[in-house]
């Protein structure tokens, strides 16, 4: 688990750096356009800023699972009797593991299919689609592993306090 946590941390750091890079890239390409200096290179900056959003969400989501940073609503868990609360929370976490597992498998299938057919996203350049889709099985896979901690680990996902948690 410790190795997985470190991987998730590293991915989150990369996501944070990408976020800063996007800010700079947008500023540079806007300046380039204003000064009539833009061209293919600034179109590429634009394209990779767009792709960045997907990479960021896939890279940082597993880390955010561990921090309980994905917003969830506690309604049912708050009204359940105390003694079954934690069991129920573990069941919900297991459901999340299942959802992530399904997404991991089928997004991997979609990635392989896109690779085999040579699918591309036609923006300023033909970006092989599998390079984008490929982030999904990794992201969902790691998310699923992180949800496992709330199934088997000492802590539970839910707190028993009604409300929206973010």
């Amino acid at each position: 688990m410790r190795v997985i946590d470190r991987i998730c941390d590293v991915l989150a750091v990369i996501a944070g750096l990408y976020l800063v890079w996007i800010m700079l890239a947008i500023v540079v390409s806007a300046l380039a356009r204003t000064l009539y200096l833009s061209g293919t290179w600034s179109s590429h900056l634009f394209t990779f800023s767009e792709f960045g959003l997907l990479y960021i969400v896939m890279a940082a989501s597993p880390w955010l699972v561990r921090l309980r940073g994905h917003v969830f609503i506690e309604l049912l868990t708050a009204f359940l009797p105390k003694r079954i609360q934690s069991g129920f929370s573990r069941f919900v976490a297991a459901l999340c593991v299942l959802i992530c597992a399904i997404l991991t498998y089928f997004s991997l299938v979609a990635t392989i299919r896109a690779y085999e057919f040579g699918d591309a996203l036609m923006r300023s350049l033909d970006m092989p689609k599998w390079l984008i889709l490929g982030a999904m099985p990794i992201g969902f896979g790691l998310m699923g592993l992180q949800f496992c901690r709330f199934v088997f680990g000492p802590e539970t996902l839910h707190t028993g306090q009604a409300g929206v948690h973010e």
């Binding site: 009539y36 833009s38 179109s43 634009f46 040579g118 036609m122 300023s124």
Partner: protein
């Protein structure tokens, strides 16, 4: 025998003339196909994203789509032959070009290319100031902020333009605010988009062709009865010709509207320069196709064949 059912989507919203052609064609097929085959249209880009539709047809999410071929050009590079064509859809069908195109689709994308609809529509660059020509008399877009689109990117780069990408829906406000000052569009449709409120000059001659087609999942196609397949083939080919003629009439109407609205049609200074401009565009498309094919022998054989059948030259 049971009636065949086909699900379909279209790339563009319903108000666009191209979508109307497709829906009218579907209505025609359904009327003549009672008891044989019925096409059920599930919607446009709101139902499946417009760039995701071709792969959705290939994968069997949906059976049929009406879409520009360029949307899946990375999968079927041969589609650029339609973009750079110098023949009409009817000529391409008669000389066997359409069959080669269909073969490429079947081999590479698990779909069949049924027909080239609304063909014969060309593109122009529209600007908000008088165009400038270089020493050879060819358009020079240095210092021009042009709305980009992957389809014409290579050509625009060759003309020295400063490009920015945006969806067609954002072009109006981008023109209004000066984020871009030029855009390319088809011969028809500018008045409907109201871009002529800002764009005052049209650069002649035209270049490229629209490459709208109807493709269908190959497994779904093979599962149809022979009668259904024959009917669809017949009707689509009728519409290739009918829509071509209808659109040529629209070109005349729109030209008139633009001229009456004060749009200036600026030709290249000499005929040779105009031809060089068109060749620059065509070469960019053929070069892209060659690059995407990646130089295999079979691929190059088909490239040469398409170049001969669609553009009347050997290319090599």
């Amino acid at each position: 025998q049971a009636e065949d059912r086909i699900s379909a989507v279209h790339a563009f919203p319903e108000f666009l003339v191209y979508t109307k052609t497709f829906l009218a064609m579907v209505e025609d097929i359904n009327a003549r196909g009672e008891g044989i085959v019925q096409i059920e249209v599930r919607g446009g880009p709101e139902a499946i994203g417009m760039f995701e539709q071709p792969a959705a047809v290939r994968d069997g999410v949906i059976d049929m789509v009406h879409t520009p071929g360029s949307f899946y050009g990375a999968n079927v590079p041969e589609i650029d032959a339609m973009v750079a064509a110098r023949v009409t859809p009817m000529e391409a069908r008669a000389n066997g070009g359409a069959a080669v195109m269909d073969e490429a689709h079947r081999e590479r994308f698990n779909v069949t290319h049924l027909g080239w609809i609304d063909g014969g529509i060309k593109f122009h660059i529209f600007m908000n100031k008088a165009p400038v020509f270089d020493e050879n008399g060819v358009l020079d877009l240095t210092g021009v902020k042009l709305r980009d689109n992957p389809i014409y990117n290579a050509f625009f780069t060759a003309l020295n333009a400063s490009t920015s990408s945006m969806p067609a829906t954002e072009v109006y406000s981008a023109l209004e605010k000066g984020v871009v000052d030029s855009a390319a569009w088809t011969q028809i449709g500018i008045p409907q988009l109201k871009w002529n409120e800002f764009l005052t000059h049209r650069v002649d001659p035209f270049f490229y062709n629209t490459d709208l087609g109807v493709i269908m999942n190959l497994d779904a196609w093979n599962a149809l009865s022979q009668e259904s397949r024959d009917l669809i083939t017949t009707v689509v080919q009728e519409w290739e010709e009918k829509s071509y003629n209808d659109r040529q009439a629209d070109v005349v109407t729109d030209n008139q509207i633009l001229a009456e609205g004060g749009m200036e049609f600026v030709s290249h200074p000499t005929e040779e320069a105009g031809a060089a401009y068109q060749k620059l565009a065509d070469d960019a498309a053929w070069a892209r196709m060659k690059e995407r094919i990646g130089g295999t022998d079979a691929g190059m054989a088909r490239y040469n064949k398409l170049r001969e059948l669609y553009a009347g030259d050997s290319g090599s």
